[in-house]
């Protein structure tokens, strides 16, 4: 996207956080390398938004990394996140790395740093492995050589149901937050990214699952260009993968359709049947 570098950090202003499930000793070996990446930034910016940026960096030992910066954006918010609430970047890191520790399929979290001073938090930077060759689901769906079929729907739905059983409610799913990661000698593995709006609960949340599936379904129509009729098939598959009784399947399918229709009508003026 651009060669704009991360703003260099000052070591004395940093607080480091290890990912869930990683021992202190293991993190102490990684941390100096991560420090170097933020004090002497390099790499390329691959995504830039109002409060967020993602840089791709190559480290000699750790390999290719995604370095995600989440800025507080404004004095009031930087004070707010120091005293009154957890910084969204730390929350994203905490939920994502806990999801990974529970066995969730996501690019590996290596650590996070919070930069601030007395009375304010400026930004949080999260370090993850960069996965070479990964393709967003939306991009895969748009490819005329790989039109969606029931097998793909079942793989996506199974991934969403497995994530939900680990307690994840993603909150901002789209076809862009599901990655198809190449595997030697097999179908690509589906991994989930971007936990900015996610929560991890105590078990399967059927309402949260319906919300997540609805967002993926809308993404299939809008970003993936999938026919609405086919998306209804995906919804049916997802409801059946997640639930065992007909009453549960019916409630789930109805909820997903209602939630998806709201978004589709808002965005396109037409619902799933339109």
């Amino acid at each position: 996207m651009s060669d704009q570098l991360l703003r260099p950090a000052r070591l004395e202003r940093l607080v480091w956080h290890a990912p869930a499930g990683l021992t202190e000793q293991a993190f102490s070996e990684i941390q100096p390398r991560l420090e170097k990446l933020v004090t002497e930034p390099r790499g390329e910016c691959v995504y830039q938004a109002k409060r967020r940026a993602i840089h791709r960096v190559q480290d000699e030992i750790l390999g290719p990394l995604a370095v995600k910066e989440i800025r507080s954006d404004g004095c009031l918010r930087s004070v707010w996140f120091r005293f009154a609430a957890e910084h969204p970047g730390l929350r994203e890191f905490r939920v994502g790395s806990e999801f990974q520790a529970r066995g969730g399929a996501t690019p590996a979290f290596l650590g996070a740093m919070l930069e601030g001073g007395f009375g304010h938090v400026d930004r949080v930077v999260i370090f993850m492995h960069w996965i070479e060759g990964a393709v967003e689901l939306a991009q895969h769906l748009r490819d005329p050589r790989t039109r969606p079929d029931r097998a793909l729907f079942e793989r996506v739905a199974t991934r969403l149901a497995e994530d939900a059983r680990l307690g994840l409610v993603h909150g901002r799913h789209s076809s862009n937050n599901l990655l198809l990661v190449p595997r030697d000698g097999g179908e690509p593995e589906i991994q989930v990214i971007d936990f900015a709006y996610s929560s991890l609960g105590v078990g399967f949340d059927p309402g949260g699952f319906a919300r997540d599936v609805a967002r993926v379904a809308v993404g299939m129509v809008r970003q993936g260009g999938v026919e609405r009729r086919k998306v209804c098939e995906f919804i049916e598959v997802a409801a059946r993968v997640a639930h065992s009784t007909e009453a549960e399947v019916e409630a789930c399918r109805g909820a997903i359709e209602a939630l998806a229709n709201r978004r589709l009508i808002q965005a396109t003026g037409r619902d799933l049947e339109g």
Partner: protein, 263 residues
Amino acid sequence: MDRFESIQRQFSAAATRYTTSRYHADGPDLDAMLGAVDLRGDERVLDIGTGAGHTAVAFAPRVAEVVALDLTPAMLDEARALASSRGVDNVRFELGDAMALPYPDDAFDVVTCRVCAHHFEDPAAAVREVARVLRPGQPRTAGGTLLLVDSVSPEDPAQDTFLNCIEVLRDPSHVRNHSVSQWQQMLAAAGLASECLNVWRVPLGFHDWVERMRTPVLERQQLRSLFEKATDGIRAAFDLETGTESGFSIPIGLFRARLPADG
């Protein structure tokens, strides 16, 4: 827009409606909360997600001080006005987040949280924060007590799906109604011994329910469609009535959870 902005936007627009809502002002659970603890008058109470301040104002005459916490400045303005109109002067109003309470350990004798926890993205973290700021009390005193009231989802997955789906269609800042067993699990994990004292079925008229949150027309259409297509099991579980007098009932649970007694 992050979750703070989402909640603030939703409740800034609807703040005054929570002051006048009959259920929020005078629901059966409010009296039950007051009756669930033996207050001596010297307690310090934290009311999390105070909203229009009904719980804080109800507890204030019976305790030394109430700190009323909310994420939305407009709701705190409503709560201040309510306290002032009732002549209550021992309530302090503060802005803050339940998942990162801006208070030291052992700062409060009693914590209350009424019809707000379904907005918590990380309720387990919020419960841990409550356990941290609670001061352990002696047996048969109010000290070290959390009183939690919230809409609870049925244990049945189909009914759970229906309830949480209609809630999020009506209010995008809704996160989840947990079941009684899920709350008890989270409270136990935070070291609090809990009991569910009661579950009420609170009747709600469809029109008032969506008006209070200013639910847009499109979402109302989806809600009506879900109500009309509901199975007999769901109709029975929520006393669902469709047509001109449409309405339903929602289960509201009261939990009392205590830290182990001091010493």
